[in-house]
């Protein structure tokens, strides 16, 4: 990883890794015997990795979820599936490049796979609006889901968005309506839906493609009603950036938190230090979990599937009864 592609708290690990690489190359080139030194350094590195990555704060996980090298939805689609045919457009207004999707094979199963695609290069990020959908993105997603349900294919969804785009055109074209409609229609879509938060799950922008029979979260993904920065801007106006870590703690945004609230079905482990440190392993872990879910869900009669989906969402909420009101 080059400079600028690692986070502050990753720096000691990245530097030690570079040092070991340099020594190994030097030893090879000069035919010097340094195996004892290397062995010691590697043990040190292992300890450092454990210390750095095994007790991540919520804010550190948010940073990992936004890591510039983190695999994007397209990476997961490429690594997990074969024969992906990207389809475009919402058949109404346009094509939202923040939302990619189309049919693919997951093993020997035909699926419809959709995801928010932030993009890797600056050019791609701009074209994809950093993974922030306009209404046509939500409508495109719905169109593809309806296509899948027509032919009885399960839907696999990858969430990775800093939010639905807050802009003039997005409002003009009905951002709220597009999201609301998806929530309603996805809750009765008569095929299995498996949703995975692979990076950022910001608010309605994430939920708008987020209703399903299984909700998976990658270990370092985050999901909340508002971004830590958005929350901090409301609670500590003028000093939002400084308070984002505090907001991340207050909002309880991690996969573990979600699991404690009973909202997440499975947490998908990532390679130590995050998915970007070993994208192939990250993708194969996600692939295996999605496949297990498909095996569980596919034989279920549609009525059972929908009844269980209904119960799952109907139960959500924490409240009490107070007779004094």
């Amino acid at each position: 990883m080059g400079p600028g592609t690692y986070l502050d708290f990753e720096k000691p690990v990245v530097e030690l890794e570079a040092k070991i690489r340099d020594i190994r190359e030097f030893a090879r080139g000069e035919s010097v015997e340094l195996s004892r030194e290397l062995h010691l350094l590697e043990r040190k590195l292992e300890r450092l990795r454990q210390d750095t990555f095994s007790n991540l704060s919520r804010w550190q996980r948010v940073q990992l979820a936004r890591h510039p090298m983190r695999p994007c939805s397209q990476d997961y689609i490429d690594k997990m599936t074969t024969g992906f045919v990207p389809l475009h457009g919402d058949r109404a207004y346009g094509d939202d490049r923040a939302l990619i999707g189309g049919p693919a094979m997951l093993g020997d199963r035909p699926i419809m796979i959709l995801g928010q695609q932030k993009g890797r290069t600056t050019k791609e990020k701009l074209a994809n609006n950093f993974g922030m959908c306009h209404p046509e993105g939500y409508r495109k997603a719905m169109r593809l889901m309806i296509l899948a349900s027509k032919f009885g294919r399960p839907v696999v969804i990858l969430i990775d968005t800093p939010g639905a785009f807050p802009g003039i055109q997005a409002e003009e074209r009905g951002q709220a309506e597009a999201i609301a409609r998806n929530l309603r229609e996805m809750s009765i879509l008569p095929v299995p839906i498996i949703v995975s938060v692979v990076g950022e799950g910001a608010s309605g922008g994430a939920l708008g493609i987020g209703i399903g029979d299984r909700l998976l979260m990658l270990e370092n993904a985050w999901y909340s009603v508002i971004s830590p920065e958005g929350c901090a801007a409301i609670l500590w106006p003028g000093e939002a950036a400084a308070n984002a870590p505090r907001a991340a703690e207050a909002l309880r945004v991690t996969a573990e938190d979600m699991s404690e609230f009973g909202l997440v079905d499975r947490i998908v482990p990532e390679p130590l230090g995050g998915a970007h440190r070993d994208p192939n392993t990250a993708a194969s872990l996600l692939h295996a979990t999605i496949l297990e879910c498909l095996v569980e869900l596919s034989p279920q009669p549609v009525d059972d599937l929908l009844a269980r989906r209904r119960d799952k969402y109907r139960r959500v909420g924490v409240f009490a009864e107070d007779e004094t009101f």
Partner: protein
């Protein structure tokens, strides 16, 4: 637990509290100083510029439900603090303050009433309770109101007034959008009508869930509607926002609203819509089926 309540007589607009003697109120639209009793007769709508003052949930009960009576349900549902959310104030303290201020357990009142003689499952939000925000309690009460409509086979009417999902309950608030929308899918399958009434403001998580899913969606004039807040949009696009952006009129122009309805016409409009959606009801005079007090009607005529 059921509660039969009659909303207190007299509409009590937001700004009345700001005036020491309660006699005169400054219009938020044109700045005119208006006699409060006059405003009360006009449903808290400015006679000069048509500005709709924000009114309380109890005002809408009085305005829309026959005799101003609601058979209230789920009044005692109260919020918990699942996140142990702390900012400047603890979440339970915020709740307690709002409860004291509004007399409500949370930001919505739901129950059953009649509109033009027809039974409806009715919900009305209270902005004074943490900005009308939707946490678990609002989500649950909306869900139960939808279920009540299905069980009793009566139409659903919800008057929204909300800044969106409640931050202090985090992801649980967000998922209330899913819960309410899911039940509206069932309501739609059961062919029970839902009229969504939007008032100032209806935005974010509420707008992006049940408020946008009415069979018919009507709004009061000049309400702030939309998904994202204007400050967030401005900070994102670094542009000034056009005049009237995200107003009811803007939503109507862009095709996301069926109709803008002035406050004095809300009830008669809902009655007319319900006649279409549910079919005419025997024994009910639909034409001028108001049960509003005559004085209110008369003063409304002067608008």
């Amino acid at each position: 637990m059921e509660w039969f309540r009659k909303a207190k007589a007299g509409l009590s607009g937001e700004s009345k509290r700001d005036i020491p003697d309660g006699l005169w109120t400054k219009c938020g639209g044109c700045g005119e100083i208006i006699y409060a009793l006059e405003l009360e007769r006009l449903f808290w709508v400015c006679p000069t510029c048509d500005y709709h003052f924000r009114i309380r949930h109890s005002d809408y009960i009085r305005l829309l439900l026959d005799e101003g009576v609601i058979e209230e349900y789920d009044r005692g549902l109260v919020a918990q603090d699942p996140l142990k959310f702390r900012d400047k104030k603890k979440y339970p303290e915020r709740i307690a303050d709002s409860q004291k201020k509004t007399g409500l357990a949370d930001a919505i009142v739901c129950g059953v009433g009649k509109i033009g003689g027809r039974g409806v499952s009715f919900g009305v939000m209270e902005f004074a309770f943490i900005g009308g925000s939707m946490g678990s309690v609002v989500g649950e009460k909306v869900a139960r109101a939808i279920e009540r409509a299905m069980t009793r086979q009566i139409p659903l009417v919800i008057v929204s007034c909300s800044g969106g999902a409640r931050m202090q309950e985090g992801i649980l608030s967000l998922f209330q959008m899913a819960k309410t929308s899911l039940l509206l899918a069932e309501l739609a399958e059961a062919k029970i009508p839902f009229i969504s009434v939007l008032t100032n403001p209806t935005t974010a998580g509420v707008m992006a869930s049940y408020a946008s899913l009415g069979d018919v969606i009507i709004a009061e004039p000049k309400a702030q509607l939309g998904f994202a807040g204007p400050r967030v949009i401005k900070d994102t696009i670094h542009q000034e926002l056009p005049e009237g952006f995200q107003s009811s009129e803007f939503f109507l122009e862009h095709g996301f609203l069926d109709r803008i309805v002035r406050r004095k016409d809300l009830k008669s409009t809902i009655i007319s819509l319900l006649s279409f959606l549910c079919g005419p009801k025997a024994g009910v005079v639909e034409k001028s089926g108001h049960t509003l007090p005559n004085t209110v009607l008369e003063s409304a005529e002067t608008l």
